[in-house]
Symmetry: C2
Subunit: 329 residues, 2 copies
């Protein structure tokens, strides 16, 4: 299997599948993982990129296995000292984790692009897959809530997703361009599949799709686009996906995910717990695969990656590709 692959990813769930893909691919250098940067923000004067970092730590084997984000064996001496100085402590930055924020911020200020810094840091950590930010330009997600507009991390971390979501804005998207490595990977003649990771569709995948040119590039690529549902048994494994769906008037489930990605995906992987939704998903016009999507350990990550690749190969061979359309974003 020497095809190349593109994965669109948010944080923890996406990073787990990306790690599985790295492990089952003969050559992980054929994998380009495109990270959502809508969560990025300036904090304490540092540029913090949570999804890029979760991907980096996960693929480098440095991630905290308990949380899925942050670093293993992390300590909080900085944060404690910062609190004593009256600094902001609502967003935890571990002592080891701080290094990536400080080094990235320094290099960005020196004029390097986010994609160049990301490539350099992940190479330094021995990561063979390519981790690519969706854009070098900031496209911060703003959450419209019943309590007003909130910067993403204020909604997500400071308010713990408590306010009711009314909608999302991708600020600055109109001026952003996809990273060149992202477009190059989509245009590769040997592209085997685009994999939409089991990430939050609203706040992890939609920001990537909101960058002008991404939808058109996805429409233009001949490889199948496969999503893995982030909803299992009506609930998200992690994060506010189900809560957001409910607040948006959508019943959380695989069929709603298929409808959300209508016009984008050719196939959807459902969890075994949602087997009964297969017909409803198929009715939206996409191919369906049922698999164990809960990646509790390395075995499960690899098995899901294998299932996704096999599903993509089958769709590719069957020519089950959805009708091509112009941008439906």
């Amino acid at each position: 299997m020497s095809a190349s692959f593109v994965a669109l990813s948010g944080g923890v769930g996406g990073a787990k599948l990306a790690l599985g893909l790295c492990e089952v691919l003969e050559d992980p250098r054929r994998l380009t993982v495109v990270a959502n940067t809508g969560d990025d923000f300036e904090h304490l004067g540092l540029r913090v990129c949570p999804d890029l970092d979760t991907l980096t730590y996960t693929l480098a084997g440095l991630a905290n296995p308990e949380t899925g984000w942050g670093r293993a064996g992390e300590s909080g001496a900085f944060m404690e000292a910062l609190g004593a100085l009256g600094g902001e402590t609502w967003f935890f930055l571990g002592d080891r984790d701080l290094a990536i924020h400080v080094e990235r911020t320094r290099r960005l200020r020196a004029g390097e692009s986010l994609s160049a810094v990301t490539a350099a840091l992940s190479a330094r950590l021995g990561i063979r897959a390519r981790i690519v930010p969706m854009s070098d330009e900031p496209v911060p997600t703003v959450v419209e809530t019943d309590e007003g507009s909130l910067a993403f991390q204020h909604y997500f971390v400071r308010e713990r997703c408590r306010p009711t979501v009314l909608g999302f804005r991708h600020e600055g998207a109109e001026r952003a361009r996809p990273c060149a490595a992202f477009l190059d990977a989509l245009a590769a003649s040997d592209l085997g599949a685009v994999i939409v990771c089991p990430s939050n569709p609203y706040i992890s995948i939609d920001p990537i799709l909101a960058v002008p040119g991404v939808r058109a590039a996805l429409d233009a690529c001949r490889a199948p686009v496969i999503a893995v549902s982030p909803i299992v048994g009506g609930r998200a494994l992690k994060g506010p996906t189900a809560k957001m769906m409910a607040e948006r008037g959508v019943e959380p489930g695989a069929a709603a995910i298929a409808r959300h990605y209508d016009g984008l995906i050719d196939g959807l992987v459902l969890d075994e717990a949602d087997r009964q939704d297969a017909a409803a998903v198929a009715a939206t016009g996409v191919a369906v695969e049922v698999a164990a999507t809960v990646m509790t350990g390395p075995t499960e990550k690899r098995a899901l990656a294998q299932a996704v690749l096999a599903f993509a190969a089958r769709i590719g061979a069957d020519g089950e590709r959805r009708p091509q359309s112009s941008s439906t974003a």
Copy 2:
């Protein structure tokens, strides 16, 4: 004793005496410690102020008793992670210490002055004396060496003071102004003394004196100016003072310190080990006091502070103040 006092200070030695002064003064709020900021530099995108921090940690009881600088119980997880990312590790920033650099940098970027940030952070840490940077404007010390011009920390930390010193420049001094709190403290009608701490005259005290207006303000104040010699038995207790003196063609000793501060000081405190230099110092026209200047513990710090204050009181009472002159900088 309700007079107010001003101490001019570099790092470790100065901070020890400042702590002694805080402890023996009835009201430590009457003490203004003016810190050298010539050592300050931008590192990893952070504004690092070594002497301000040594003073802050020392007066807050947080200093590392082994080194005299940095924080007690410090850890290096950040630095280790930074090294793994290929970042610069020649200047150690401990996990706890990082908090002050990050918080200060954030506040400076938000538009606060260095003196305002310093006051806020030291108040937060329960420090009752006032710690004041010599200037809110950067006046970085450049060391002219036989290997060319070196930014101070490159000379001091990266090169470990190895190159031969030819001279010093105080970059930007012509555009700098003393902090208002510094001038106010010198102009106080109840000023009991100005104390030049046992700090390196070239790289800790001269930068303070190089800020336009400082020499004139010192000349104008009626209180005695007392220095404590940083040289004991021909050697510096810490740092490159003696090496620098030798490289500048000056024999390291109390008499050379007195000559260095000629026109500035009214009295010099020598260590007991240098009692034989008293006559040579007196010959330069300043009053002499002999005391134990090696501040190994709290008792020694307090004893030296007492000796300095008593000496200053005696000079003040005797009217032994040096002849007033216009700026002799």
